[in-house]
Subunit: 335 residues, 3 copies
Amino acid sequence: MTDFTGNHILSVNQLDRDAIAKIFETANMMLPYAQRKKRTHVLDGAILGNMFFEASTRTRVSFGSAFNLLGGFVRETTGMSSSALAKGESLYDTARVLSSYADVIAMRHPQSGSVKEFSEGSMVPVINGGDGANEHPTQALLDLYTIEKELTASLQTIDKMHIAMVGDLKHGRTVHSLSKLLAQYKNITFSLISPKALAMPDEIVSVLENAGHKVIITDSIEGNVDADILYLTRIQEERFTSQEEADLYRGQFRLNQQIYTKHCKSNTVIMHPLPRDSRSDANELDTDLNLNPNLAIFRQVENGVLIRMALFALTLGVSDQVSKHESDVHWFSRK
Amino acid sequence: MTDFTGNHILSVNQLDRDAIAKIFETANMMLPYAQRKKRTHVLDGAILGNMFFEASTRTRVSFGSAFNLLGGFVRETTGMSSSALAKGESLYDTARVLSSYADVIAMRHPQSGSVKEFSEGSMVPVINGGDGANEHPTQALLDLYTIEKELTASLQTIDKMHIAMVGDLKHGRTVHSLSKLLAQYKNITFSLISPKALAMPDEIVSVLENAGHKVIITDSIEGNVDADILYLTRIQEERFTSQEEADLYRGQFRLNQQIYTKHCKSNTVIMHPLPRDSRSDANELDTDLNLNPNLAIFRQVENGVLIRMALFALTLGVSDQVSKHESDVHWFSRK
Amino acid sequence: MTDFTGNHILSVNQLDRDAIAKIFETANMMLPYAQRKKRTHVLDGAILGNMFFEASTRTRVSFGSAFNLLGGFVRETTGMSSSALAKGESLYDTARVLSSYADVIAMRHPQSGSVKEFSEGSMVPVINGGDGANEHPTQALLDLYTIEKELTASLQTIDKMHIAMVGDLKHGRTVHSLSKLLAQYKNITFSLISPKALAMPDEIVSVLENAGHKVIITDSIEGNVDADILYLTRIQEERFTSQEEADLYRGQFRLNQQIYTKHCKSNTVIMHPLPRDSRSDANELDTDLNLNPNLAIFRQVENGVLIRMALFALTLGVSDQVSKHESDVHWFSRK
């Protein structure tokens, strides 16, 4: 699919390489507006229903700002208590009602499959902002987009790259969705590094292997993170099957500059879905990496805005009109 | 009253037939903007204070979207905990303060009479978005507007129609307010169908009878719902005076396609204030009615946006300038 | 400092008399827009991140409306539970992320020093909306601006005025910050009236005395409130060190029209940071003063909008472009 107009974005499974290319090309086009070199009024008067039935400040604000950057208004809700859902209303009804108030809806909900069910009642395009353990396609897209941009900067490609995924690969919907997208590329080496109890599900490993990628499964970062991309995720101690295993792995998947220097390439790109836990007993990604130019975590955030702008422009069918509605920015813009 | 400029909308008691006609005429004018055939910038730069001191996602978002559709900004609050009201501030002070931040205020509050008290301190028009058990005038107006539109489509009028109201007629502020508005019309037949313990208050029945309408009070839908309009409301079991009575009536006021076919006219319009409880043990309005073209519940929702747009345009005195500020919509609009 | 472009506003300590003069001059310029005589689109397309990690309806809405009055969009958050801060994210990371979504940030947070820490990670200007017991500079500025405007109206100046501050002078960050700003003026008489246990901290008294001002410390309003400005703050009974002391002072610092007539000058200006507690057992500032033309409490609120508009225009470097982007207001505007 390359014509997104009027369609829902519910799952990475919808997206083939042509679709991904179209989204990334549109995201590239959004850069001057996100950077405030220009602004665009292309969605001036349109309304985003930013329906977060589960709290998530950063994802909610990212969607909202992306829509504002296109000139549109945002109506929103946070949390479920105040919702008619709590009074036994079906997701179908909720969608029929809320889609009367908006031109497009971004929705997060704690229940797996809820966003798809909601989309069936909606009269406007629905973009999945995360439905429980199931999907978070805009995160997967912004991760993939970041990988492509970072590699392109060093004249590499996603095809043939080496990516190391580290941490809780069992529960992280982020790494699952990203892996599904990456499976469509060619000859990637995946180092899947996790405690044994938190390994990548077999189903995902099969998808990667069946697509011809090389998969290394290990529980040690030593010798495995000299990759082009190093994607870290959080391990929560309560995820382990026993305290013994938790003790065994404690601190084994943290990264700081010293470990980076010892085990990574000089230009290994460091990624993380954020938030990173910076408390002293967590410290999964040490702040001494903040000065490392290969730390891409905040570029991921910025890319998230571009991807969400692109999805709004595409689903509302205005991607070719963005620059027609542009004007100058005359206020101080970010450092 | 037909000049609403600068006035509060607090109660259906303010609204005579001339006022209602003016609101409906203005709501009609809003249709192309709500349907995204056009957009209007008439309130570009104006600010709605969407002050919901009691949570209500759909009503809050409906007011907010209506204001955005006229081009204005929305500032809002949800819930009471964060409010100075909780620190002993009077509604008068709260209104003085919040009306410094807005051009018009929509307010919901759990306490009966609170919105009127608030309006006395406000320097800008206040629209009642529901004050406890007391009033919810925009719901009554959107219900009446829906009735008029649905009947007009089949060449009928509110005068001389037959409306059946079903369910909890004792506590439902919706049916009380709607009845007061309908009382101003001529020769209506009201079938008031409820459990005995949840009957329409005598005060409302008197208003209807004194205005010359025919009122039938019954506890059975059989023989009483072959009406032009069938308005259902929810019965909550805890409202009954005894469990025996709850048991007696359980399931007697639900509607599905089979009951509709058996007891209603072929074009009886089905209305409900929503949300409807679609859980299997509630199922007050079965989803098998979703394909019935006479199910008007989602048209009520859409009409709510038109009514709220009309009230904003009227209270801010711009109803005759809406089309002067219009422009084209170039994005994908709803199915 | 008189060029605020790109700078944070974190503390009154940043502000010398030139800076204050620049802010007030800019605030004056905002009056026609706040009063809806005109509107301005100067920040059309800009985004405020209104990040309230502690609930505060009025301050949050005041910042948001001020930004809307300049034509900009507002994205916001209320409360901390939904925030990544709760998952161990550092304020630095939170700032890096949220500043990717906005052109300027207004932030409130319960923890002293948090806004400064946050500002160090932010790529856009941060305005302190209150950080715990520490600072609330926009409140201090709106108070000082109100004092100047009220005195100017009666041909007086801040230099040489007599101000009485009454109530809990120990814990009120409002009176501390205001005192620091006033210290920069000349020959002011300060009557600091409070229970002994709730007296102004020595540190602040020293600042005032070292700057050559006259300071009177007392626990009685009699003979001390015939001032030009009377600034009242709330006393919470639990602040006293003993119940005996609380009993001793109960009701001694309340103001009503009778006390005003007896103890104040005929044009003593009454100020209060609001909310005032209007419950019968509190009644710190009696509502019978509402008709007293010298009651400036609601003018403080309106001035707060002007000050916040000024700070946005200054930090975003558009203060000289506001009128270039103006247009007419054609809707009903406030009484």
